[in-house]
Amino acid sequence: MIRYISSRLIQSVITLFAVLTIVFMLMRLMPVEGYLGESYDKLDEIQREKIIENLGLKDPIHVQLKKFYKRVASGDLGVSIAYRPGVPVAEILKSKIPYSLGFGIASLSISIISGITLGIFMADSEGKILKRVGNIYIILINSIPAAIYYILIQFYITDIFKLPMLFYIDRPISWILPVLSLSLGTTATYALWMKRYMVDELNKDYVKLAMAKGLKRREVMKKHVFLNAFVPMIQYLPSSILFTISGSIYIESLYSIPGMGGLLVEAVQRQDNPLVEAIVLIYSSIGIIGMLAGDVLMAILDPRIKLGKREGRI
């Protein structure tokens, strides 16, 4: 397994290097106007030249690229040039990540617990009310655009329960709706997949055999069906946890949460090259680490899965 992980890590570094280089080059293709900001119209030619020069954008591209690699290699994410000029990118991210992570982890926890529980009960309660309610919930959540139910919740629930419409760090009561709204969609997803995997397992011969042998249904469900159904879901868990730091564009916008949601889009729009590069670096790393961790976790939980060259790759 160590050999497998090492090989994957080397591949990851190469991938990361390629992604960063592509993003770096693409950002240099953006129009000059974007670097001058909203005051573009009021600047004269001398100022425009000076600003572009001060940003280092007049250097040949290979010189800029060399400086960039050097900076990244030394662990320096650079200084924002447009989103918050003069503020180190690390400081911007440090102030935003805790919000997205906090809301993300809280909603993910709720989703995992409620979604998996709902999925189990739906798989195990053929024809019962809970199954019908669960199905209606999953269909509704998947068919109604999230933006609509997010805004309905914000308008009506806050009015009915006299809750603040926006998020305030010093008012914990204002944290509830964003977390619940965020968890609605993922709860439905977890419930749907859990139900599906459970039903798949329930139809397998070993389950029928266990039942025929006289084992209690509850015991079969708990010891065999649940565990086997849970393994495929575990693969995506590390990525889901790590990607909570990217935040939710819509929830954070609606509730005024100063998290990571929408930061990448805004950084690109403002042509804040160091900020874009730092975010891409982080997201790419998370993607790579998340996938690797998912594979490893599956191998640990399911003894049938072997990682490594001699045992065959998955």
């Binding site: 106007e33 900001g37 005051s39 603040p164 760090i169 009561i173 005024s256 100063p258 729009q269």
Partner: protein, 611 residues
Amino acid sequence: MKKLLIFFIGVAVVLAGWNASRHNWYDREENELRMVYSGEVTTLNYLTAATANEISLAVNFVDSLVEYDRFGGIKPCLATEWNTSEDGTIWTFKIRKGVKWVTHEGKVYGKLVAQDFVDGLKYVLTSENNSRTANIVYSVIKNAKEYYNKEITDFNEIGIKALDEYTLQYTLNKPVPYFLSILNYLCFFPVKGQFLEEVGDRFGTDNRYILYNGPYVMINYEPHHRRVLEKNEYYWDKDNVYIQRITMTYNKEANVLAPEMFLRGEIDHVGIGTDIIHEWMNNPVKRNLIRPNRTNFFSYFFLFNFNPQFSEEYEPVNWLVAVNNRNFRKSIFHAMDRKSAMLTEEPYEPEKRLLNTITPRNFISAGKIDYTQLEPLSKFTNRDSFDEKLALTYKNKAIEELKGKVSFPVKILMPYNAASRQWANRVQVIEQQLEGVLGKDYIDIIIEPNPPTGFLERVRDSGKYALMELNWGADFADPETYTHPFRRDSTSSWIHMARGYEGENGYTIYENLVQRAADEVMDINKRYQLFAEAEAFLIEEAFVIPYSVGGGGYAASRINPFEISYSPFGAVSGRFKGLKLLKTPMSMDEYNLLYKQWERERSERLKGAEK
């Protein structure tokens, strides 16, 4: 499971009920103004900032040498008195004593002295600091441009000196009649040199890294979340600061959420957009909560392009011949029903927004006469340019003159920024309306949506338009400021390339008219008269079609807009000094009454000033 579910629901309901009975989120600190905003500032560095959002925040933290009263009159602020040399190039100011710089925690840092203005200007003129307003400084201050360009390295050679602790002197390149108005820009604001050294590159990056000598101190700043401004207890004019605390909460969806928050009493001021104005106007309760906003001094106009660089498919050569025909331009000038276009964003009182000149009304006065009422400009000011009969007369003349030289219909490319929904609506109306009046056999208007990224540089400044809506805001208190978009060195217009308007000295007739006005620096009334003649020429020859002023719209608000400083230029908008919170939102009737009262008082003030 069922029991567990019932238990959780029960707990949630009890908690929510307890919360609702215990808290009222509508409560607030006494004398607190609460607002929601959707445009976040990128910096608090007022010496480099130039956007409206940044300016409107900074003016609450640092004062300028002079300020505007609520009628637009200049009055002392950080300068208590001033005088100018006979030739108008040296200005000397006495700095107010006892003004204190405080930190974001409200602790006194030091006293304000004349050197602070010198330090501020040095920062602005150091090109590495990327000040967006350095050009305003070096357009008037002696040797400033040379310092910015590193041709001079000794700052003592620049036209600013602290003669003593409380005496400041500026030396100008040449006499500038509007110099006092320029001092209201952030680039002339003071800064404590010692503090600059302490914080280095972090200056202005958040509320801890600036000092305050203005009416408010920013005690809390969380970008994209919240700002809290508290009255500066050490402010030299604190008796005129009435609101104790201002809480601004960021919300990207403010246009959707903020009206509802206002109705719930969670905020005190909100703009009511075009998309919901009908609903508010037709609701008897909501109708009483809204009032108009004041218009601003941004001038919007349509400009003909004499240097077409657009694609061959839109026939730039054909366009160039057509646009150089005066009757062709005049036909479009008189065929454009600007009111129809304005109805897309101001459905109730479109006339209030329309502008018949480039310089807005009430911008500046020559004695008692408003600039736009000076002859020959007044003939445009007092008449709507839309005249179908006249348009058709010019059309027939143009067809006659262009026969065999131009292929009809003439393709007119009108690009717009697709990010602006209002702009998109406007061009669609204009296309239908113009083609309706002049006929599709005469013109073929092609409206072209463009992505917002790099729009100005890629489309406007590259000449990829035939007729396009542009805008300009005043930089100083002089009609010269509205000539800038039409200058030869402007990046967006090429009217100097129009055929048949060549004047003396290799410059066009219009350029000579402007230069003649700009050269008149001693007799202000004559100067304004000459600028009015130049502007009238621009409109008469239909190089440009004036359209509207900016701002306007509607708001539900507990703010009286007539209490704050009034000025068409500089750092004035957004200042909370002088504002009092109304007990109830201002209605339309109250607004109209106060507006008339304000106009009357202003007119009396102007008459008084004239005497």
